[in-house]
C-alpha cells in the first residue's frame, strides 16, 4: 500500500493542492496557486480522506503487531509449558519403570509360589495314584472277611493322614498365591494410572507444541512417540490385568478344589477308621467299607486331577503374563531412551 505522502502527490494535479497535511504548508501554496475556494475545499476533503486512510492503516498495523506479539508470547508460553512438562514426563517414566519392576518382583514371587503349588499337587496326585494301585493289588476278594482287609486298611491310614496334611499345606500355598496375585493386580493398576498420566502429559505437550509453531513441530513427533509407548504400556498392562484376573479365578477354583480335596481325604480317613473300628460288621454289610473307601479315593483322585488342571492353567496364565512383562520391560526402556533424547536435545532440537 502506498504511503499517505505518495497519495497526495497523485492528487496534486487534480486539486492543485500541495500534498502535505500541515496547514502551514497548505496555506501559502493555496495563496500562490490562485485557486478558487470550492476546488480548495475538494482538495482538503481528499487530503482528509487520505489522512483517515493513513490512520486506519496505522491502526491495522498496530493491531497486526499486537497480534504478532501475542502469538510470540503464546509461543514462549507454550515452550515454557513444554519445558515444565518434561520433568513431569521423566518423573512418570521413572515411576513407570519402578512400577514395572514391582510387577516383575511380584510375578517372580508368584512364580515361586506357583512352583510350590505344582510340586504339592503333583506329590498329592502321585500318592493318591500309588494308594489306588496298592489298594487294587492288596484288596481282598469280595467273599473275604473284613479281618483280612484290616491289613491294607492299616497301611492306608498313615498315607491318608499324610495326604490330609499335604492338602492343608496346599491350601496355605494357594492362599499365598492368591495374595501374590492381588499384589500383581495392584501393581498393574498403579502402572496403568502412570501410563494414563503420561498419555495425558504427552497430549498436552503436543497441543502446546502445535501452538509453539515451527519450534514446536519436532516435539509433536516426540510427544506422539511418547504417547505411543504409553499406550502400548497401557495395552500391555491391560493384558497382564486380564491374565491376572484369569489367574485369580483359577486360584479361587484351586482353593475350592483344595477344600474339596481335604474334605474327601477326611472322608477317606473316616472310612478307614470305621472299617478298623470294633464292630464294623454290625454297622454295615461286608464289603461296604471297601466300596466307600474306593469311592472316597476316586473322589480324591478326581479332585487331584482338577487341581492339576488348575495348576497347569495357572502355569499357562503365568507364562503369558511373563511374556507381557517382558514386553513392558522393553517399552519402559524405549520410553526412557526417548525421554533421555528429549532431555539432551530439548523440544526445539527434536527431529
Amino acid at each position: 500500500m502506498k504511503s499517505p505522502v505518495s497519495r497526495c502527490v497523485e492528487v496534486r494535479p487534480v486539486a492543485r493542492l500541495p500534498a502535505l497535511l500541515g496547514s502551514a504548508v497548505v496555506t501559502p501554496a493555496w495563496a500562490a496557486s490562485g485557486l478558487d475556494t470550492p476546488a480548495s475545499l475538494i482538495g482538503w476533503a481528499v487530503a482528509g480522506l487520505i489522512a483517515v486512510g493513513a490512520l486506519w492503516r496505522i491502526r491495522a498495523l498496530t493491531h497486526a503487531a499486537q497480534a504478532e506479539r501475542r502469538q510470540h508470547e503464546g509461543t514462549l508460553r507454550a515452550q515454557a509449558e513444554l519445558l515444565s512438562a518434561l520433568p513431569d514426563l521423566h518423573d512418570h517414566a521413572q515411576q513407570l519403570t519402578a512400577g514395572i519392576a514391582s510387577v516383575q518382583t511380584a510375578a517372580d514371587i508368584h512364580r515361586t509360589a506357583l512352583s510350590e503349588v505344582h510340586q504339592s499337587v503333583a506329590g498329592a496326585a502321585k500318592r493318591l495314584g500309588d494308594l489306588a494301585v496298592a489298594l487294587e493289588a492288596e484288596a481282598p476278594p469280595p467273599a473275604a472277611s473284613t479281618d483280612s482287609a484290616a491289613s491294607p486298611l492299616l497301611d492306608l491310614e498313615p498315607v491318608l493322614l499324610a495326604l490330609d496334611a499335604a492338602a492343608g499345606g496346599l491350601g496355605e500355598k494357594f492362599t499365598r498365591l492368591h495374595e501374590r496375585t492381588d499384589e500383581i493386580a495392584q501393581a498393574v493398576a498403579a502402572l496403568d494410572k502412570v501410563s494414563e498420566r503420561i498419555n495425558l502429559l504427552s497430549l498436552n505437550a503436543a497441543i502446546e507444541s502445535e501452538k509453539a509453531g515451527d519450534r514446536g513441530h519436532g516435539f509433536v513427533a516426540i510427544a506422539q512417540e511418547i504417547r505411543r509407548l504409553a499406550d502400548h504400556t497401557s495395552a500391555a498392562s491391560l493384558g497382564i490385568a486380564r491374565h491376572v484376573a484369569r489367574a485369580r479365578e483359577v486360584v479361587s477354583e484351586g482353593v475350592m478344589s483344595v477344600e474339596r480335596f481335604q474334605s474327601e481325604v477326611h472322608g477317606g480317613v473316616n472310612v478307614v477308621r470305621t472299617a478298623m473300628g470294633p464292630t464294623p460288621a454290625l454297622q454295615m454289610p461286608a464289603g461296604t467299607e471297601d466300596e466307600r473307601l474306593a469311592r472316597a479315593l476316586r473322589d480324591c483322585q478326581t479332585t487331584a486331577q482338577a487341581l492339576r488342571v488348575s495348576s497347569r492353567a495357572l502355569g499357562t496364565e503365568d507364562e503369558r503374563a511373563a511374556e507381557r512383562l517382558r514386553e513392558l520391560g522393553r517399552l519402559a526402556q524405549q520410553l526412557t531412551s526417548v525421554l533421555q533424547h528429549l532431555q539432551v536435545g530439548g523440544p526445539g532440537a527434536a527431529p
Binding site: 494410572k193 494414563e196 495425558l200 497430549l203 498436552n204 503436543a206 497441543i207 509433536v220 504417547r227
Partner: protein
C-alpha cells in the same frame, strides 16, 4: 494441523488443537441444579469457574461413561480467556491431519451447525466440531450467566 479426536460409540469427532487450552482428567464438578440439559457442572480452573458440557449427551443423547480416558477438552470460547470444558470419551490421541483435506459431508444440517467437515486420516473418519456452534441458545444463555462475576 493437529486435532484431538474423541469417540462417541464407533464414530470419531475431533476438535482442532488451536481451539483448545488443553486436556484435563475429569475434574470434581460442582453440579448446577436447574441447569440446562448437557451441563454437567462447573469446576475451578485457575481461579475461574469453568462450565463442563457432556459431549456425549449433546451429540448422542447418552452420558459419557466414567473411565481413565474420559477427559475434559478445555476449549476456547468467543470470550478471551474464558474456557469451556467438554467431557469426552476415549481422549487418548492427537492426529495430524491435512487442513486442506476437510470436505463438507454433503448433507445440510441446519439443526446441527456444530458438525463440521469430514476427513479420513489413518483409516479413521473424523468430523470436525465447532465448539461455539455447539452451544444452543439455552446453553449459551446459561454460560453467559456463569461467566459473569458473582
Amino acid at each position: 494441523m493437529l486435532v484431538i479426536p474423541f469417540w462417541i460409540g464407533q464414530e470419531a469427532y475431533a476438535v482442532a488443537s488451536a481451539d483448545l487450552y488443553g486436556v484435563l482428567p475429569r475434574p470434581l464438578l460442582r453440579s448446577m441444579p436447574g441447569g440446562p440439559a448437557g451441563l454437567l457442572g462447573v469446576f475451578n480452573y485457575r481461579g475461574r469457574w469453568t462450565p463442563v458440557l457432556d459431549a456425549h449427551f449433546l451429540l448422542g443423547g447418552v452420558s459419557a461413561r466414567p473411565a481413565l480416558a474420559t477427559r475434559v477438552l478445555l476449549c476456547h470460547t468467543k470470550v478471551p480467556d474464558v474456557a469451556l470444558g467438554l467431557l469426552c470419551e476415549k481422549v487418548t490421541d492427537a492426529l495430524t491431519v491435512d487442513p486442506a483435506a476437510w470436505s463438507a459431508p454433503g448433507v445440510r444440517l441446519g439443526d446441527a451447525p456444530w458438525l463440521g467437515p469430514l476427513q479420513t486420516s489413518g483409516g479413521i473418519t473424523v468430523q470436525r466440531l465447532f465448539i461455539p456452534h455447539l452451544l444452543t441458545p439455552e446453553l449459551a444463555a446459561a454460560l453467559d450467566s456463569l461467566e459473569s462475576p458473582a
